[in-house]
Amino acid sequence: MVKTFPMGGIHPDKHKITSQQPIVDAGLPEFVYISLKQHAGNPAKILVKKGDRVKVGTLLADADGIVSADIHSSVSGEVVRIDDEKNACGYDEKMVVIRVEGDEFEPSIDKSPDIVKEIPFTAEEIIKKIREAGIVGMGGAGFPTPVKVTIPEGKKVDCLIVNGIECEPWLTADDRLMVEHAEEIVIGAKILNKIFGIQNAIIAIDENKPEAIEVVRNITRRYVGVNVRVCKTKYPQGGEKQLVSAITGREVPSGKLPLDVGCIVQNVGTVFAIYEAVMKNKTLFERIVTVSGDTCARPQNFRVRIGTPASFLIDKCGGVSAETAEVVFGGPMMGQTTINLQAPITKVTGGVLLLSEEETHRPDMMDCIRCGKCVDACPMGLRPFLIGIYVRNNMIDKLKNIHAMDCIECGCCSYVCPARIPLLDFCKLSKIELKKKQKGN
């Protein structure tokens, strides 16, 4: 039986046109721009200076505090400058600019394609390796993984879920990763098992990826304790809390984490990175990115070095056409429209989409007719229309009572609204206003 979460959700058009495209190497650009803040928490502290020569995997910046992550070089070459560069939104961000010269790896990195199956490390060693590799949650939030896998005292994990659900339309990066690197992901799950001291792991994949289900299922037959669970194709099935509820039936309380109900959810991209970090000493310097969209001439899945400008990838796919109205980083539901095509790919960028006017047009907002569609669609059981009204009228105190902070920013409410009210934008705004208020008090 296919599983899903109990309330809300929508069924947007899938557009998974790249699901049969094998992952190809994007190659090396002339310059890479490596941001010091590609993760949740504090920006990393810079260690290199202008003129330094670096190799692939060289540590560029050190994690500042516990909730932060190390940043490594993704290419070999010379540090040209460390300065404010524009990110995807156009705001300034400290970035290390490296001129690419050759492709020399740090000697500790194991470049061989062999799959290593034995895990000779203890839990502490594994966490140390994950920290040193600078791994963050690659599903989009960018929360530092070492923090997530360090279980605080008094908490117990009994269920590890590997999130192979890519519910955003267009994106196929995780899908292809599962098809091409299934065994590594399963070993990655086993590595995580070792940290938590449990024997079982569940790889959740949604129905619309038959090839990935087939491949991963065949591999898991050889590994005891790792199972594949097929989930219903529904957005936002890949949300952490939705997945926990679909797989285990446990509801994560308001303001709590899946850990509080004994679950840990890790994206397949993260699990793959953990495998490579622990078994191959590979730091996180590349990721899979889908370049797609209805105005993209040659949609493809790329293996991209972190810091590659988006324009480099777009050019490889035929460039921006006259019909392209918006370029979106991430998925169309939760992603961010970029105003700067030179903006680099970061650890959390899963896709670059070139969308037409038709796909991105926002009709004028009309008045709320109280139809309740947003309430039906909200997977968290919130009342988005009410959040919209409160935040527009600056009634911040009331937002707390209607649990605006529980919003996962999935965008289902905006998608279904017949009056075309940008409810997601209002929900995001309300979360920011609430945080501001909490800080003020």
Binding site: D84, I339, H361, N394, P422, D425, L429
Partner: protein
């Protein structure tokens, strides 16, 4: 007929009993309140804007009545201004302290002409939302987004978007310096400044902290941190490529020279008395 009579008697009895209960309760639980509070509330502008730091005008009136001569000095109603405070002080028998009148100024001159739009934006018209999504149409990360959240929040109609420049302008006569725009602006572009002698004041109409060349790319009126103003008057400080003119700098003495020497026109001086273009 009988029914009507019995109904009237029954309802009348209930009404009488209820009235007795109400009378008894109001006598028993009567709260003595200082009549001065009502008196002062009458004097106050009744805007309930919270600019004084209290919940509303009633709360402010209560604080005034409770205050002694020393703590009264700390209370000030920016909306009513000096005249209202004088009346309040007279009613309570305190000495009113004369405070300089203030007004909100916009620390950005990124007009449609100075900072032309490069990006088209078709989402909800709101500065707070636009600030989340991107740097804005002009590309300046600290500049005015021109969607008028400040206009919507102003309760006194003192702000309006100038159709020619695209940025908000402050009506000096209506502005009560309540500070609502300061709180609302997602980029903190408003500042409450003293109106100055004869309504003449000089300030830097820019908040961009980028390096000069970068800032100039997006806006021809950006402060580039060239230090020329700091050489004219030593009170002026330039930090993070941005100059700040404290309100203590006399507009009469330095104003004209500052405006003349600023290479980008980021320094603005309001004309003496009434009419002014920007402030």
């Amino acid at each position: 007929m009988n029914i009507i009579v019995s109904d009237v008697i029954a309802l009348g009895l209930i009404a009488f009993l209820s009235a007795m209960v109400l009378y008894f309760v109001s006598k028993k639980f009567h709260v003595e309140e200082n009549p001065k509070i009502d008196e002062i509330e009458q004097i106050l502008p009744d805007a309930n804007c919270g600019a004084c730091g209290k919940i509303g005008c009633r709360d402010f009136a209560e604080s005034c009545v409770k205050a002694d001569a020393e703590s009264f000095k700390k209370l000030y109603c920016p909306v009513g201004g000096a005249s209202t405070m004088k009346k309040v002080a007279d009613a309570l028998g305190f000495d009113a302290e004369i405070k300089e009148e203030t007004v909100a100024v916009l620390k950005c001159n990124g007009t449609c002409q100075n900072a032309p739009a490069k990006i088209s934006y078709d989402a909800e018209i709101s500065c707070r939302l636009a600030n989340l999504i991107s740097v804005g149409q002009s590309g300046c990360p600290d500049g005015c987004l021109r969607f008028g959240d400040c206009v919507k929040v102003c309760r006194f109609g003192a702000l309006s978007i100038n159709p020619d420049t695209g940025i908000p302008q402050v009506d000096e006569n209506k502005c009560t310096s309540c500070g609502a725009c300061v709180k609302m602006c997602p980029r903190g572009l408003f500042e409450i400044r003293p109106k100055g002698k004869d309504g003449q004041r000089v300030y830097v109409a820019c908040s961009n902290k980028q390096k000069g060349a970068v800032a100039r790319k997006n806006c021809s009126a950006a402060c580039i941190g060239c230090m020329k103003c700091a050489q004219i008057c030593e009170q002026i400080k330039v930090e993070d490529n941005l100059s700040y003119i404290p309100s203590s700098v006399s507009a009469q003495k330095f104003g004209a020279e500052l405006v003349k020497n600023c290479p980008t026109g980021a320094i603005i001086m309001t004309k003496a008395k009434k009419e002014n273009v920007h402030g």
